[in-house]
Symmetry: C2
């Protein structure tokens, strides 16, 4: 478990971060998304719709970089790099945990018929910070 510097710990309470993944052809993709940081195991987890390109990318290439910018100062950032494990969340149990962080949103209402969700778990191998 890679530790998070105390100076930048609060950034992991932000609403949104940027997840970078890589497509099968090697092209990067970056998208803003919701996340949950788990203090207990140091992992960051995302609830991803299975129809999205980033989900396909992670299934093919299970490596990601996650960057959080301080909402009050975009020059203060924390980047977590590591491998990603993708697991089913067909019953939306993890999605409900994410919804709870975001004011009780029901993530099912964001999906189309026939789509489902997975939990993507990023375990930081390397942690980089910028700014003080």
């Amino acid at each position: 478990m890679t530790s998070i510097p105390a100076s930048h710990r609060l950034l992991l309470d932000a609403q949104v971060g940027v997840l970078a993944t890589v497509s099968a052809t090697g092209a990067p993709q970056a998208t803003a998304l919701w996340f949950l940081f788990d203090e207990a195991d140091g992992a960051v987890r995302f609830s991803l719709n299975t129809a999205r390109q980033k989900t396909k990318n992670l299934r093919t290439r299970p490596e990601a970089s996650f960057l959080v910018l301080d909402p009050a100062n975009p020059y203060r950032t924390i980047e977590l790099r590591g491998s990603v494990e993708v697991a089913p969340d067909d019953d939306y149990a993890f999605a409900a945990q994410v919804g709870a962080k975001y004011g009780g949103v029901d993530l099912r209402t964001m999906d189309q018929p026939g789509e489902t969700r997975v939990v993507a778990t990023l375990r930081p191998r390397k942690v980089l910070t910028w700014g003080e």
Copy 2:
């Protein structure tokens, strides 16, 4: 030249965006950085220090994704994906243009002895927007 939707054009006047690149081993990297959007040719340009990992990544794999979050609403974003051309900026001519956008900063003062700069030009092949 791929056009920028009018709804999200102002995001390209932001101070900072997130550049995602890919390492030689296929791992993504994401960093916040300064940029200049050129209305004339639709390209986004960055002044990069040659010692940085992202510069090495772009020289090996000239593909990038650049994401800008609306400072007022992180759910409004624009992502530009495309190939990147890296050219020398040994005389810091382009770095001076970037410095002018950021209150007259002299980018030479940000570099160490022996380092120099390049201009990285991202020509968007695909433009994706989120939010209204």
